[in-house]
């Protein structure tokens, strides 16, 4: 078990390192980062001075070695726009994203799993059909459109909620609902099919035949056995929530990592982009590791290698 966790952590480090290297070389290959950042009418002398100061005049391998050395110490360089430590900027924005992503994940689990279970247990009931319709619609509705509709309804027309920014609980409502909507739809659908599959198993028939109360058949035998596919997808989606946060944060002006990344990309502020890539790929792979460890606990038949 310990050996497994250690080797997976090593893999995580490798994945993070490779994604950073890929972005580093893509950025350097695509052109001079200084020229991309500078205004068009700047003088050549100033450009050269800027390049010298930031070390862009050195050969590429030297720059790469310096970048890797810096990254290992948590130093991604200075933001070209804010003239501040890039990592510090990212760390400053991280809690806002974690708050948003955590709330959405909680909302997803609280809505989607009960909905999926009830739809499966009461198959072909009105509730099941309503559930199917809403999940199919939820999957097809782009988050940024849902966000605009909610802003129109709750901010422009009803004036109940703020259009954006971060503050009290009211600011959190719309962004987390938008972020949760798409994932809830997917997880509710998957929960329904996973529960249906388990309900067809022989041991459920046995449990019912021996007169076990329906609540225990569902609660004890069905849910635990259908948990694996649900946890797998929920885990994968937890990572995708980070991607969805990029869009949601932009719509609602939520001061998180996603919005910072979009702005850094628009401004070609590549030190900040690299620091953000570092955190996003780190979180993503750690979430996947947590999901894999959860399997072993849910299903002792799964041997972790």
């Amino acid at each position: 078990m310990r050996a497994y966790v250690v080797s997976r952590l090593a893999q995580t480090a490798l994945v993070v390192f490779l994604s950073l290297s890929a972005v580093f070389f893509l950025v350097r290959l695509s052109g001079d980062p200084v020229l991309l950042f500078m205004p068009m009418d700047i003088q050549t002398k100033d450009v050269n001075e800027f390049r010298q100061r930031l070390g862009f005049n050195d050969p590429l391998p030297v720059q790469y070695a310096r970048f890797v050395g810096g990254a290992l110490r948590g130093d991604f360089g200075e933001s070209l726009r804010y003239r501040r430590d890039a990592l510090g900027l990212v760390l400053e924005r991280l809690p806002a994203t974690l708050l948003l992503a955590g709330t959405s994940l909680l909302l997803t689990v609280l809505v989607a799993i009960p909905l999926g279970v009830v739809s499966a247990v009461r198959r072909d009931s009105v509730l099941d059909h309503l559930g199917t319709i809403s999940t199919v619609l939820g999957q097809a509705t782009p988050g940024f459109w849902l966000g605009l509709l909610l802003i129109y309804l709750f901010s422009v027309q009803l004036r109940w909620l703020p259009t954006g920014g971060m503050g009290g609980l009211a600011h959190l409502v719309m962004p987390s609902v938008v972020l949760a909507a798409f994932y809830s739809a997917r997880i509710a659908r998957l929960t329904r099919s996973a529960v249906l599959e388990v309900l067809g198993e022989d041991y459920i028939l046995t449990a019912r035949a021996k007169g076990l109360a329906e609540g225990r058949v569902i609660g004890k035998h069905t849910l635990r056995n259908s948990a694996i596919p649900i946890v797998t997808l929920a885990g994968l989606e937890a990572g995708q929530i980070l991607g969805g946060a990029v869009i949601t944060e932009t719509i609602f002006a939520w001061p998180g990592l996603g919005r910072l990344t979009v702005q850094a990309l628009l401004n070609r502020d590549f030190p900040v982009v690299l620091a953000a890539v570092f955190f996003i790929s780190l979180m993503y792979t750690l979430i996947n590791l947590a999901v894999d460890l959860l399997y072993g606990w849910l299903d002792p038949r799964v041997r972790l290698r």
Partner: protein, 266 residues
């Protein structure tokens, strides 16, 4: 029911895309300040006009053209590249395949939309570059699914028999293995199609994709944000067009999966 709704919505989108020049009564790019921000139902503009007085219906129809074009291009590019690499990786189990699958793992460990956006920020914006970035971000799904399928098809008796009879590897691969993994490729393609269209709209919405004044649904929604207080229709209709197209293609994809390959999980 689901199947027919899927077919109807998809056909509707295709029809809008093909017949846009005949269905639209206005040039989607022509501005007319006297007619700006007219609500739906205004004379000559059934869905209203935008802040520059451009006809919203015409822009939606041409937007369908753009969305489907980008969807088709990226689905074909990713299916061919990812499918072929997956086929070879499943067939030749040596170190190049291992390296390829590690690349797939690394790429899958990064949010799709952010990857495509990063590529756009680096290589540049515009139609050609967004097709490029979506394809570069999307091929890995096919590579993984196809490789898994090939590994199992390869063990089947008819492949073993053909191999024992002395059939060459390339011929074996294309003659016996490819036709048997083709259904999975089709199912993945149909399920990927709507995510590509939505991703393109999201990227254009954030300003990294198709640039104004080209009528792309995503950039239309982005512009509509400034007029949300006065012109709800600018936000409502492009989003509805996008959602209905995605819904139609999704339903069609679900139906294809149930028919061709019920066990496939994407």
């Amino acid at each position: 029911m689901k199947k027919w709704l899927g077919i109807a919505l998809t056909l509707g989108a295709i029809l809008a895309a093909i017949a846009a020049p005949w269905l639209a009564a206005h040039d989607p790019l022509r501005t007319d300040f006297a007619q700006s921000l007219k609500p739906p139902g205004a004379p000559g503009h059934p869905l209203g006009t935008d802040q520059l007085g451009r006809d919203l219906l015409a822009r939606l129809l041409y937007g369908a053209r753009l969305a489907l074009f980008i969807g088709v291009c990226t689905v074909v590019a990713t299916a061919v590249v990812g499918g072929l690499l997956g086929l070879v990786a499943g067939f030749v189990e040596r170190w190049p395949s291992t390296v390829l699958m590690r690349i797939v793992d690394v790429q899958l460990s990064f949010p799709f939309i952010l990857l495509a956006m990063t590529i756009n920020a680096i290589v540049g914006l515009g139609l050609r570059n967004i097709i490029l970035s979506l394809s570069a971000a999307g091929w890995v799904v096919y590579a993984r699914v196809v490789r898994g399928e090939v590994l199992s098809v390869k063990q089947r008796d008819y492949v073993q028999a053909a191999s024992a009879l002395g059939m060459g590897r390339t011929r074996l691969m294309f003659r016996h293995v490819l036709p048997n993994v083709a259904p999975s490729i089709i199912v993945v393609a149909s399920l990927q199609f709507s995510s590509f269209i939505v991703a393109e709209a999201a990227i254009s919405f954030l300003g990294f994709g198709v640039q104004p004044p080209t009528p792309a649904w995503g950039s239309m929604l982005s512009e509509s944000r400034d007029f949300l207080y006065v012109a709800w229709w600018l936000a409502a209709f492009p989003g509805a067009a996008l959602a209905l197209t995605a819904l139609g293609v999704n339903l069609l994809g679900d139906w294809l999966r149930d028919t061709l390959d019920p066990k496939l999980r994407v």
